[in-house]
């Protein structure tokens, strides 16, 4: 352990450095919350003036959380944590593993904290003491003639708490790095009724990443509450792998779809100019078995759309009366048996058309593209593991303490003296209580005939 005396190692293992780095990270982080991140230089010049905008650009404050100086600070903190743990953890583990029975406190010292019990009986009934202490699960070591030593020990592992927290921070950083280098954060717009096989990486790279399968959007829906605020954004998605549908799920904002390590999040949506979605359900009356067919079609205004499976055709004649294009629509309907029909329907209004051979239920709506955030993050479980470890470490550090109580039985004159001596790393109140409880259970054992003092 020669290295540990190295000046650089000492500096990097010091808590002073940690305090310094944490302060700096905290203080500099403020800048990025005040200055909006990732905007153009024109934006900053307009908002903060040209001089400040140039300073921001030079210091990378416009993208500060991914700037080299900020990442450098984080890296230094990680180094600090690693070296601090490396230097100190072995010592702590040694204390945890130490057999405290072999190193009892010297009772000859003026141990003012000791609880002393004494008895007139010259011989100690070791087994009686053991059974009196049974609820403290004592360990016993044989002393010299007429003496014995018991140890009650609890929470030795709690000494590792602070190191668990430090290691958990490193784990979280590792998880973040794994995500950054082995995962991606991408985006794709999928029009209703079509599929996408690749997604676009965000950030500076703008690369196109092939998915290896296709994501198909059957339907996108926005629902609103009565007061007009949005209630739900929902995309009905299918995953097509090698041309086959393998998965089907409706995703909403808090409920993404996962397939082959890739997660699709409902993120945004877009109206498709001049494109409409028509849902048709045909119910045949004349057929021997009442068959029902539902289909969704996409069409543009003023273009006749023939549907051979249904034997019908549709044509949007007008998309609105006031020009905003969201209904009431004028829709021309035609099938084999009658003359064309012109219907006036509202957006998403469900209309039934009864013809001699079949009943059609139709509804016409704006066509949308759904905006999906596509994330592959193999590091997220490492991050979560780190989070769990952090909570465990904090619990160890603050709610548990290493309590050791030695019960030393010695011959003293004609009688016996029992000293209850304790040690703890933090919770002294708990230590005193434990000592008192041990004393109380020894005193309550009548055959020992103990008294205080």
């Amino acid at each position: 352990m020669l290295y540990k005396n190295n000046g650089l190692i000492k500096a990097f293992s010091s808590v002073e450095l940690a305090l310094f780095l944490i302060s700096w990270i905290a203080v500099t982080s403020i800048a990025g919350t005040i200055v909006p991140q990732g905007e153009s230089i024109q934006f900053y010049a307009q908002r903060f003036g040209e001089k400040l905008a140039i300073i921001f650009e030079l210091l990378n404050i416009t993208n500060m959380y991914s700037s080299y100086w900020f990442l450098g600070l984080l890296l230094l903190l990680c180094l600090n944590l690693i070296i601090c743990t490396w230097v100190r953890l072995p010592g702590v583990l040694a204390v945890i593993r130490k057999d405290s029975l072999k190193s009892p406190p010297r009772t000859t010292d003026d141990n003012s904290g000791a609880v002393i019990l004494s008895s007139g009986q010259p011989t100690v009934q070791v087994e009686t003491i053991r059974s009196a202490l049974s609820s403290f699960s004592p360990r016993k070591s044989e002393g010299t003639a007429g003496e014995c030593l018991f140890l009650h020990e609890k929470g030795a592992w709690s000494r590792s708490g602070a190191y668990l927290v430090h290691i958990s921070i490193l784990l979280i950083v590792c998880g973040a790095l794994v995500g950054k280098y082995f995962g991606y954060d991408a985006f794709v717009m999928v029009p209703e009724g079509s599929a996408e096989a690749s997604v676009h990486q965000r950030g500076g790279k703008h690369a196109t990443i092939p998915l290896g399968f296709q994501v198909f959007c059957r339907n996108f829906i926005t629902e609103y509450y009565d007061n007009g605020t949005p209630k739900e954004y929902r995309s009905d998605l299918d995953i097509l792998d090698s041309g086959k549908k393998v998965l089907s799920k409706s995703i909403t904002v808090n409920d993404p779809l996962k397939y082959k390590g890739v997660t699709f999040f409902q993120s945004s949506y877009q109206q498709m100019e001049n494109e409409y979605k028509l849902m048709v359900t045909m119910k045949k009356i004349s057929a021997p078995e009442a068959s029902e067919t539902s289909e969704t079609f996409f069409l543009r205004p003023s273009t006749e759309h023939k549907i051979s499976e249904l034997g019908t055709s549709f044509k949007i004649l007008a998309t609105s009366s006031d020009g905003h294009g969201h209904g009431p629509y004028k829709l021309q309907f035609d099938d084999r048996d009658s003359s064309p029909l012109v219907l006036t329907v509202d957006e998403r209004e469900v209309v039934t058309i009864e013809r001699s051979e079949a009943v059609y239920t139709i509804s016409l709506a704006q066509r949308f593209k759904t905006g999906l955030k596509v994330v592959k993050d193999p590091g997220v479980w490492i991050v979560y593991l780190g989070c769990a470890l952090m909570l465990l470490g904090l619990y160890f550090s603050f709610f548990m303490s290493h309590v050791r109580v030695w019960i030393v039985c010695q011959r003293s004159g004609d009688g016996t003296k029992i000293s209850i001596v304790g040690a703890t790393n933090k919770n002294f109140i708990k230590l005193e209580q434990t000592k008192e409880r041990i004393a109380a259970s020894l005193l309550s054992e009548e055959t020992l005939a103990l008294r205080r003092g």
Binding site: V15, L19, A26, I30, P230, K231, V253, P256, C387, F398
Partner: protein, 285 residues
Amino acid sequence: MDSSVILGATTFIYLLATVFYVAHAVFRNSLAGKAGFATLCMAILANSAGIALRWLESHQQGIGYVPLSNMYESLVFFALCIASLSIYIELSHKLRHLGAYIVPFAFLAMAYASFSAEFGKEIRPLLPALQSNWLAAHVITCFIGYASFTVSCGMAIFYLIKKSRPGASTDSDNEEPTSGSFSILETINMINYQMIVFGFIWLTAGIITGAIWANSAWGTYWSWDPKETWSLITWFVYALALHARYTRGWDGVRMSVVSLVGFVSVIFTYYGVNFLLSGLHSYGG
């Protein structure tokens, strides 16, 4: 009865409790102390009833949700957390006049919730991003943390006032009720530290639940959004306090000052980010 009526009334009960506790602390009147305790218990009951009723009302309106979704509802819960901690501290340390430095915060939170015009108080259906079970977990953990830090700030103020008063270091402290063998200053100092520790653990849990939620709603557990960054800054401030205590023995006045700085950071995380900065986390307003 309407939940907003109950919660409005709760504000005045907190005010009454504050008056009693302050009277007890100033005049050392034990009757005022008892009245303060009884009033505070009543306020907690009314506060809880108000939250429960609001929950029920949201269900009656067909949009049932846990009422922790906006600035108003979080302030109401914040007040409840502070008041509950005050009762806990009073019972565990048998020190009544500490309430004079804690209960006013509960009153202020509740009064701000009731009288501010900056945010709406009506029950509104949840936006898509908020429709998650993580909402309750995230808000509850965060606000228990914030409430602990608030109590620690109250203790810090008490400590600094007591310390700065002439003769504070003499034996005049002996006449005051203390818990166990500790002097009053030591006790305040201890509670301050305990609340920092308690708050730190809950804030950690709050940041973690927030990260997990963000990952399930937006696909990133951390995006350096102002709210996230400020919660991390707050976490760092208290982490600093804990390290300074363990390694450099920071205590007493220094710890109290750190506690005040931490509280400023908490308030900025909670309030400042919502109203002064813009970001993803804009539901509070």
